[in-house]
Structure formats: C-alpha cells, structure tokens
C-alpha cells in the first residue's frame, strides 16, 4: 500500500535531483490523485477522511502544483485543534498537563486536540507556500513554545502528564525545531531543544539518526555555531549510513527511509 507521508517526503528530498525526474513525476501524480474533494488528504487510498497528511502533500506540491496545494492550504486553515474555553477546565488542564489549553495548533484529525508533529508539519507546509503572517501560524508558534519541555525538546504534545515529566522524542523535537527555524524563532527554548538533540545518550536506531541527520543538515543557516552544526550533521550521516540495510531501506520502514532520504541530497 502506498502512503502519502513517505511519498511526499521522498518527493521533497528528490525534487532537485535530475536522475529522479520520473520518480518525482509519478509521486506528484499519486499525490494529486489522492487529494480529496474537500482539498485535504488522507493517509492512503483507502482513507476517506482528510487529516494531517494534508500538510505533507501541500509541502511536497508547493513548488510544482500551486493550485492543488492552495486547496490544501485552505483545508489546513479551516481546521484546528480543540481549544479549551471553560475557565475551570483550563485550570484543570494546567495542573494535569502543564499546558495553556487556550492555545492550539493542528490536530492529527479533525475533532482532535492539537499535537506537536502535525502543528510543526503544518507550519512547514505553510512556509513552503510562502505564507508567513497568518494568525494561525503565529498561534501555532506560541503553541510549540508553550508545549516545550523545560529541560529541552518536545514530547508528542504536553510536557507533563499527571505526576511525571515526559521525555523529549527525536521526531517531535527535530520537526518543531525545523518549523521554528523556518519562522526565524530563536530563543532559550530552541537553544535548549538543540542542546538536547546534540546529545548522543540515546539508543542508536536508524529512526533516531535519520531525524537528527535531517535537522542538522537543514539547520546550518539557523545555527550560530556553524562548525558544531556541521559536526553534528556529519556524525549523524555517518551513523545513519552504517544502519542502511542491504535492500537500501532503513529498518525496512518506508517512513524512516523517507526521512533518511531527506539527507541524501546534501
């Protein structure tokens, strides 16, 4: 089964490569074919509901198919995560999850709360469409900053749950940083997140290295310590290549392989 996410990610990675023209053309056709009547995308052909994949498709088609991507942008702007308005509930959520529930971003699916990954992805998609001043973007940036873990990085959504701090996860941290970099947001939160991402006290898997490689290879223009950034990128790329399987994949997973592919054109 072909999915939107790896297709879009590989398309973004290979868009400038001359040898991949035919691949990119087929990927474009696949994505355009899967656009739903409401302008959004599901995750694959059997999925009859638009959701977070819309951001991936908009980003992938931003350069080549403006009219198609614009319909996706409208879908994104028409959907947001749940927003809590009841003062008692706002206070309860503050205690249980340590977040400001009045600020929202993008959900995985309509009707859900907002989460880090779809919010960061939507920001990157809108940035690719050269939209930078929309109030939804400004709120989404505030959302990411509000949900950051005090010691650095992002978990899937809230930084705390009931009695315990949640740990950062690489995909959410890397994607949130990419999004904030795209909007030139630089502060103590992004510096702490970058410091966490630079640590190497994690279990070395292709997934962990692929996200780090993607971030460090893309962040060069944003990071003040360029030399350190290049060093992190090189280390991640070397480690990532060592984990490539004989069949060319990373962990046999098209999603992880697509993220790894993001680093191949640098």
């Amino acid at each position: 089964m072909s999915f939107v996410e790896p297709t879009a990610a590989v398309m973004i990675a290979l868009e400038q490569d001359a040898f991949a023209v035919d691949l990119v053309r087929r990927a474009r056709a696949f994505l355009k074919q899967l656009q739903r009547a409401d302008g959004g995308w599901g995750i694959a052909a059997p999925d009859d509901e638009s959701g977070w994949m819309t951001a991936w498709a908009v980003w992938a088609l931003a350069q080549s198919d403006d009219d198609v991507a614009q319909r996706g942008v409208q879908w994104l702007l028409n959907h947001s995560g749940l927003r809590v308005t009841d003062p008692k509930e706002i206070e309860r959520v503050k205690q249980v999850l340590k977040i400001d529930a009045t600020i929202t971003g993008w959900p995985w699916l309509p009707g859900d709360a907002a989460w880090i990954f779809p919010t960061a992805l939507a920001l990157l998609a809108l940035n690719a469409m050269r939209i930078h001043e929309h109030p939804r973007e400004q709120e989404a940036i505030q959302y990411l900053l509000d949900r950051a873990i005090p010691t650095g990085g992002w978990n899937i959504g809230n930084p705390f749950m009931v009695t315990g701090d949640l740990p950062p996860t690489v995909e959410n941290t890397a994607l949130a940083l990419l999004a904030l970099d795209a909007y030139a947001i630089e502060n103590e939160i992004t510096r702490r997140a970058r410091a966490w991402l630079a640590q190497e006290n994690f279990t070395p898997t292709a997934f962990e290295w692929a996200w780090r490689a993607w971030y460090w290879t893309r962040s060069k223009s944003q990071v003040s310590d360029l030399k350190a950034s290049e060093e992190y990128a090189n280390r991640a790329l070397v480690a990532l290549k060592e984990l490539q399987r004989a069949d060319g994949s990373f962990d046999g997973n098209p999603f992880t392989t697509a993220i790894a592919a993001m680093t191949l054109d640098v």
Binding site: I43, P46, W52, F117, I156, T169, D251, N253
Partner: protein, 342 residues
C-alpha cells in the same frame, strides 16, 4: 346530562398505561444521545449474559521472571480452557507502551518468549508474530532494544510487526458505542485467526486499570489516528474500547497478563513496581481484567470501563459469574495504590 362512570378496573388500566408511557418517555429521553434501539440492544444482551455460562479465568503463581514461566503458561492454558489454536495464524500483542528506567510499564520479554515457545512447540500454531503499535513514540525500534524484545525475538526467530504502519483494513463497527461506523485496523490483526493480548498488570490514570482491553489500543494504526491515538480517546475511552472488544475481527482471542511484577499508582507510565508474582489468563477479556482488578485489591464494580462493558453484555465482571481456576486469588492478591485521578 350524561352520567359518565368509570370502573375501578378501567381506572387501574389507564393508570398502568399512563405509567408505561411515562416510563418509556423517560427511558427514551435518557437514551436519546445514543439512540433507544442501541441502548435496548446493549441492555438486552447484558441481561442475557447473566444467564450465560460463567467465564473461566486461570491464575498461576510465578515468583520471578527467572522462574518456570513456560510451565505456568501451560497450566494457565489448560485451566482457562483456552481456544484451540493448532494451525492458526496468531498475533501476540504485548504492551510496549514505553521504556522508563525503574518503571515496569511494559510486558516483560520473558513472558512473551515463554508464550511464543509454548504456542509453537506445544499448541503448534501455523504462524505467530509479535505486533505492537506504540502510542507515545512513532518508532518502536529503540523500545525493542531497550526492553530486550529485539534480542528475544531474534532468539525466538519471530518477526515483529509495527502495527502503526501496516496496511490498512476498514473494519465495520457493529456496536454503535462510539460515533464511528468503521475503524481502520492493521491488516496483520484484521486477517489473523487469533489475537493474544499480553498486557502488564497495572493501574491507569484515565481508565483506572490497564489490562487486556486497554492493551487493544495498540492494534489501531497510529499513522491514521495519530500519536497517542487521541482521536479515539475523544470518542470516549469506554465507548471506543467497547467498540474494539465488540468488533474485533479475529475469531479467537485470549489474554495473558504479566503480573509477575505489576505497576501501581500513576500508570500507565510513572507508577512504582509491585511484586505480585502472578500470571492471569482467560478468553473473556472483561473477566480477566475484572480478576486483575481484584488481584490489585481494587473493585472492578468501581471501574466505569468494566461496568459499562459488562452492562452491555461484552463479558463478565461479577465474581459469581467468573469461574477461577489455578492458584487462589487471595493467595496472590496485593493491594495496589490506585492511579491518581486525572
């Protein structure tokens, strides 16, 4: 002027009819949110379940993960009257929610390893895979390494299937509990002959208990429903889990609960260990979870998720409707600290 007279019998009939109509109106109003027809179907099935044979649940004492787990599973399988899985394609679904140092929040690989060995060598299943769709992390590989599953699976030569990225199969939802008419499920589960839910014995801050039923959240693909599949929580955790139990497409099912070391307090992640020294098994997920609650010194009748499903006839939670076999419940019971209310 006509003298209109009404007999006492007619008056009683009128009062009775009026009472029935008024009662019906109240029930209709009370059930409006879900629909009277659904409510009546659930209620009637729940009443019918009172006359069904008791569900059998087996308990075994296993003092540590170095003890004879295989022997205990063999006894449980027999005592719980497990389904015949010879030549079946089986999916074993442990709980790999996360890895946090000193927090025993996941099913230990020793239990899953012994189950795999038992299924292949003694039950003689046709095929078996270990499958999970993690909720807090998009990728399970680090978890598999940290929890010891990668090495265990390599030794057992059993494949791991990431249910978050499996092909999607739409499953019609027949229960009507959640406001969904279908659910996408991982093909590996949807096409299996049997599903064995292998959860950890633990408390949970949303559902009070995290047992064989809550463990089913992992069979839903995260790539569709997001991480941590919150879209389904929005449907109401109780309603959605009832839907999963009612509509599970695998014809045969069994639950094996790792209670050798359980987790108390703030489950599913941040609780503290309790050496319960127990394994629990059975084919009725509800009866297994109700027994797990009692094993933790908690009252299943105070757990909405179990009460609702039992009322709807999806299994048994009444101690009088559960036939316990193996080691006595009182022998293994440890009083767990309940999860904090969230």
């Amino acid at each position: 002027m006509t003298n209109f007279k009404i007999s006492r019998r007619a008056l009683l009939r009128l009062a009775l009819g009026g009472g029935i109509i008024a009662g019906g109106a109240v029930v209709y109003k009370q059930t409006e949110s879900v629909g009277f027809d659904k409510w009546a179907r659930w209620m009637l099935r729940g009443q019918a379940a009172r006359f069904a044979p008791a569900s059998r649940v087996a308990l075994a004492a296993v003092p540590s993960y170095d003890a004879d787990v295989l022997g205990a599973i063999r006894a449980l399988w027999r005592d719980a009257n497990a389904p015949d899985l010879q030549n079946a394609n089986v999916v074993v679904k442990p709980n790999l929610v996360d890895y946090i140092t000193e927090r025993p929040c996941y099913t230990m690989p020793q239990v899953t390893a012994a189950l795999l060995q038992f299924l292949r060598e003694e039950v003689r299943v046709k095929s078996v895979v270990v499958a999970e769709g993690t909720t807090f992390r998009r990728d399970p590989h680090a978890l598999l390494i940290q929890t010891g599953y990668r090495d265990m699976l390599a030794r057992q030569r059993v494949a791991f299937v990431d249910l978050n990225y499996d092909d999607l199969v739409p499953i019609p939802l027949r229960g009507g509990y959640a406001k969904m008419d279908k659910l996408f499920m991982a093909r590996t589960v949807a096409q299996a002959d049997a599903l064995i839910s292998v959860p950890k014995l633990k408390t949970h801050h949303w559902t009070r208990i995290s047992g064989s039923i809550k463990n089913l959240f992992g069979i839903v693909p995260g790539v569709k429903y997001g991480f941590p599949k919150n879209t389904l929580h929005i449907q109401g955790i109780d309603a959605f889990l009832a839907e999963l139990v009612d509509s599970l497409p695998t014809p045969k099912r069994f639950a094996l609960v790792d209670g050798i070391v359980g987790l108390q307090g703030d489950g599913p992640l941040f609780g503290t260990p309790v050496a319960s020294g127990a394994l629990v098994g059975g084919g009725d997920f509800l009866a297994v979870d109700a027994t797990c609650a009692r094993l933790m010194g908690l009252d299943p009748a105070a757990m909405e998720i179990l009460v609702f499903m039992a009322w709807a006839g999806l299994g048994q939670i009444d101690a009088n409707r559960i036939e316990l076999r193996g080691v006595g419940l009182d022998t293994l019971r440890k009083n767990y600290e309940p999860a904090p209310s969230a």
